[in-house]
C-alpha cells in the first residue's frame, strides 16, 4: 500500500513546515506537510542519483530519515527560539454547524476522489507519454536516466520538463518495491486535500469566519479535485497556490516564516512544470505590484531552483520545443494575425464555466479599493496568464490544437489565488469582514 509513502512524506513535510514556520500547526500544518514532504522526498531521490547511489527501498528510506532528522532538529531549535519571542496565536474563530457540514462535505468529496483515483491506473495520455513514462523509466534504471532523456526517440516525452513529479512517483515506487501505477492516484488526492485545507485556513484567517473557509473549500473542491490524475497540473496548482497565499499573508503580517514557506513552495513549483518557472517571475511581479520590494528575496530560492534545472537540462542538451528555431518569427506573425489564437480561446471554454464566470464577476465587483489591496495575487495571476498567452504566440504547434489541449488545465492552475480573492470579496460584502479597515494591512503601503 502506498499509505506508507504518504505517511513518510507527511511526517517529513510536517517537520520541514515546522522548521520553516514554528507557528504552523493544526489544519495549516496538516495541509502544508504533504506537499512539502513529497517534494523533499523527490529531491532526495534526485540527490541520491547525483551521488551515484542506486534507488532502493533502503536508500530511499535512509535519505528520507536523514532529512527528517535534520528537519526535526531545525524545527525544535526554531520552536524554542520562537517560544521565547513570538507572540501567541490568535484564538480560532468558533465553528458554526454549517461550517462543520461544509467541512464534512469537502471531506466526502475528497474521499470520492480517493476512490476514483485508485479505480484504475492513471489513463491520461500525458501520464503514460510524459510524467508516468519518465517516472517508470527512472524507476527501471533506479536513477535519473539522463541517457534515456537525451535519446532523440524520446523527444516526445518532453525531456525538458522539470522532473519533480516523476521523482515523486519514483519515491513511492522505491518504498513500495514496485511501480505502484494504480495507487499513484492517492498522491493526487493528498495534493488536492492539502490545497483545499490551505485555502480554507487562509480564508479563515482573513475573515475570521469558519463558514467562509468551509464555503471556499467546497466551491474549490470540484475544480481542484477534477484535475487529471497523473499529470503535473494539480501538484503545480498546489505549490503555486501555497506560495501565493503565503506571500499574501506574509505581506500583511510581515512574518518572515510565511515568506520561508512561500519560498519553499515556489521552488517546488519551479521544479514541477515549466509554468512553475514562469510562476516565479509572476510572483515577483505580484510582490513588486504590492510594493514588497524587500520581500523579493522570497522568490530567490525558486529562481535558483529554476536556474539550476535550466542549467542541468541545457548541459544534457534537453531543449524545449516552444522556443525552438524561428520563435521570434512565429511570435511576430502570431501578433500580426491573432485571429487564430482568439478563435481558439473562444472555442475552448474553461471547465466549470459558471464557476469561472462567478469568480470573474466577484473579483470585478470588488471595487477599485479592494482590487488594489489584493494586487499581489491579482497581478501574479495576470502575469501568469500573460505567460500562457506568450506560449501560445510562439508555439510551433497548431495553435488551435495547443489551446484546446491545454487552456482549461492552465487556467485551472490559477484557480486557488483567483477564487480566494473572489470568495474573500464575497465574504467581506456578506459579513462586513474587517479586512479593508484593518489598519496594519501593509499591502496598502510600501514596506520600506
Amino acid at each position: 500500500m502506498i499509505a506508507f509513502t504518504l505517511a513518510i512524506a507527511w511526517a517529513l513535510g510536517a517537520a520541514i513546515a515546522r522548521s520553516l514556520d514554528p507557528q504552523a500547526r493544526g489544519a495549516r500544518l496538516a495541509a502544508l506537510a504533504f506537499p512539502l514532504g513529497i517534494g523533499a522526498c523527490a529531491l532526495a531521490l534526485g540527490a541520491l542519483s547525483a551521488l551515484g547511489v542506486p534507488w532502493s527501498r533502503g536508500s530511499a528510506l535512509t535519505s528520507a530519515a536523514l532529512l527528517l532528522v535534520i528537519a526535526a532538529a531545525a524545527a525544535t531549535a526554531r520552536m524554542k527560539r520562537a517560544g521565547r519571542s513570538a507572540p501567541g496565536l490568535e484564538p480560532r474563530p468558533p465553528r458554526s454547524a454549517l461550517a462543520w457540514i461544509g467541512g464534512a462535505l469537502v471531506a466526502v468529496l475528497v474521499a470520492g476522489h480517493a476512490l476514483f483515483a485508485t479505480l484504475a491506473p492513471p489513463g491520461e495520455w500525458d501520464f503514460w507519454a510524459i510524467w508516468g513514462l519518465k517516472g517508470n523509466a527512472f524507476h527501471a534504471a533506479a536513477r535519473i536516466d539522463w541517457a534515456w532523456l537525451e535519446r532523440p526517440a524520446n523527444q516526445f516525452a518532453h525531456p525538458d520538463y522539470p522532473i519533480l513529479l516523476p521523482l515523486a512517483y519514483d519515491f513511492a515506487a522505491a518504498i513500495e518495491g514496485t511501480w505502484p501505477e494504480r495507487q499513484l492516484g492517492l498522491l493526487f488526492t493528498a495534493f488536492a486535500a492539502s490545497i483545499l485545507l490551505v485555502t480554507a485556513s487562509h480564508l479563515r484567517e482573513a475573515t475570521r469566519a469558519s463558514l467562509v473557509a468551509a464555503a471556499g473549500a467546497l466551491a474549490l473542491a470540484g475544480p481542484v479535485l477534477a484535475l487529471p490524475v497523473g499529470l503535473a497540473d494539480l501538484p503545480l496548482l498546489v505549490y503555486g497556490g501555497i506560495a501565493l497565499l503565503e506571500l499574501r499573508s506574509a505581506a500583511i503580517d510581515g512574518r518572515r516564516e510565511r515568506f520561508a514557506i512561500a519560498a519553499a513552495a515556489l521552488a517546488l513549483a519551479a521544479l514541477t512544470k515549466n509554468e512553475g518557472i514562469a510562476l516565479v517571475v509572476a510572483a515577483a511581479a505580484g510582490l513588486v505590484a504590492a510594493r514588497q520590494w524587500r520581500r523579493l528575496g522570497a522568490v530567490a530560492p525558486a529562481a535558483v531552483a529554476a536556474a539550476s534545472w535550466i542549467a542541468i537540462r541545457s548541459a544534457h542538451g534537453l531543449s524545449t520545443d516552444l522556443f525552438g528555431g524561428g520563435a521570434l518569427a512565429r511570435l511576430g506573425s502570431a501578433i500580426a494575425a491573432p485571429a487564430a489564437l482568439l478563435r481558439a480561446l473562444g472555442e475552448t471554454p474553461p471547465e466549470y464555466p459558471l464557476f469561472w464566470i462567478a469568480v470573474a464577476l466577484a473579483v470585478a465587483a470588488g471595487g477599485a479599493r479592494r482590487i488594489a489591496r489584493e494586487r499581489l495575487l491579482l497581478v501574479a495571476v495576470a502575469a501568469q496568464i500573460a505567460f500562457f498567452f506568450g506560449a501560445y504566440l510562439v508555439t510551433p504547434r497548431d495553435v488551435a490544437w495547443h489551446v484546446a489541449t491545454s487552456w482549461p488545465r492552465l487556467l485551472a492552475q490559477l484557480v486557488v489565488p483567483i477564487a480566494f480573492v473572489a470568495i474573500l470579496f464575497a465574504a467581506e460584502a456578506l459579513t462586513k469582514a474587517p479586512a479593508v479597515e484593518t489598519p496594519d494591512f501593509r499591502l496598502l503601503t510600501p514596506d520600506s
Binding site: 470520492g112 476512490l115 479505480l119 489513463g123 466551491a219 462567478a358 460584502a429 456578506l430
Partner: protein, 142 residues
C-alpha cells in the same frame, strides 16, 4: 452588493460542484475500473495486452521495433509508439514512422526484436518467436 455577492457565491458553489465525486460511491466500481483501465487503449483494443506480452518475452535492454497497420503518425502510429514506450520499460522502443509521416524501415537494422501487431510480416533476418494477442514477435537471427 450583498445580494449580488450572495448570488455569485451560490454560483461558485453550484458551478464548481462535481457530481462524479459523489456518484463514485454508488457506481459499479468493478465496471468503472474496467472502463477506466481500457480507456487509453479504446481506439486500438488488444494492442496494450499484446505489448505487455512482448515485454514478458524480451530481455531488459532489448531494442524493439514497433510494426502496426497504422502507418500515419496521427492516425495511430503515435499511440502505438508512445504506448509501447510506457509498457516496455527497460527496453529501447524503435519507431518506424516519424511525426512528419516518413517511414524509416531501415531502422529494422537497429532492432533486436520486431513487435508486429495486426499483421504477420516476413522480415529477412528475423524469425517468429511468439505469436498471440493479435500479433507476432520476431527475433533477429543470430
Amino acid at each position: 452588493m450583498r445580494v449580488v455577492y450572495a448570488i455569485l457565491l451560490a454560483a461558485m458553489l453550484v458551478g464548481g460542484f462535481e457530481p462524479f465525486l459523489l456518484r463514485v460511491f454508488f457506481t459499479d466500481r468493478a465496471a468503472a475500473a474496467a472502463a477506466l483501465t481500457a480507456g487509453p487503449d479504446r481506439a486500438f483494443p488488444g494492442y496494450a495486452p499484446f505489448v505487455r506480452q512482448v515485454g514478458a518475452r524480451t530481455p531488459e535492454g532489448a531494442r524493439v521495433a514497433i510494426l502496426v497497420p497504422m502507418r500515419r503518425w496521427s492516425g495511430g502510429y503515435e499511440y502505438a509508439y508512445y504506448r509501447a514506450s510506457y509498457l516496455l520499460t527497460s527496453r529501447e522502443v524503435i519507431p518506424l514512422v516519424e511525426p512528419d509521416g516518413t517511414a524509416h524501415l531501415e531502422r529494422f537494422r537497429d532492432a533486436d526484436y520486431v513487435a508486429a501487431w495486426g499483421m504477420t510480416p516476413r522480415l529477412a533476418g528475423f524469425a517468429p518467436v511468439w505469436s498471440g494477442g493479435g500479433g507476432v514477435l520476431l527475433r533477429r537471427l543470430e
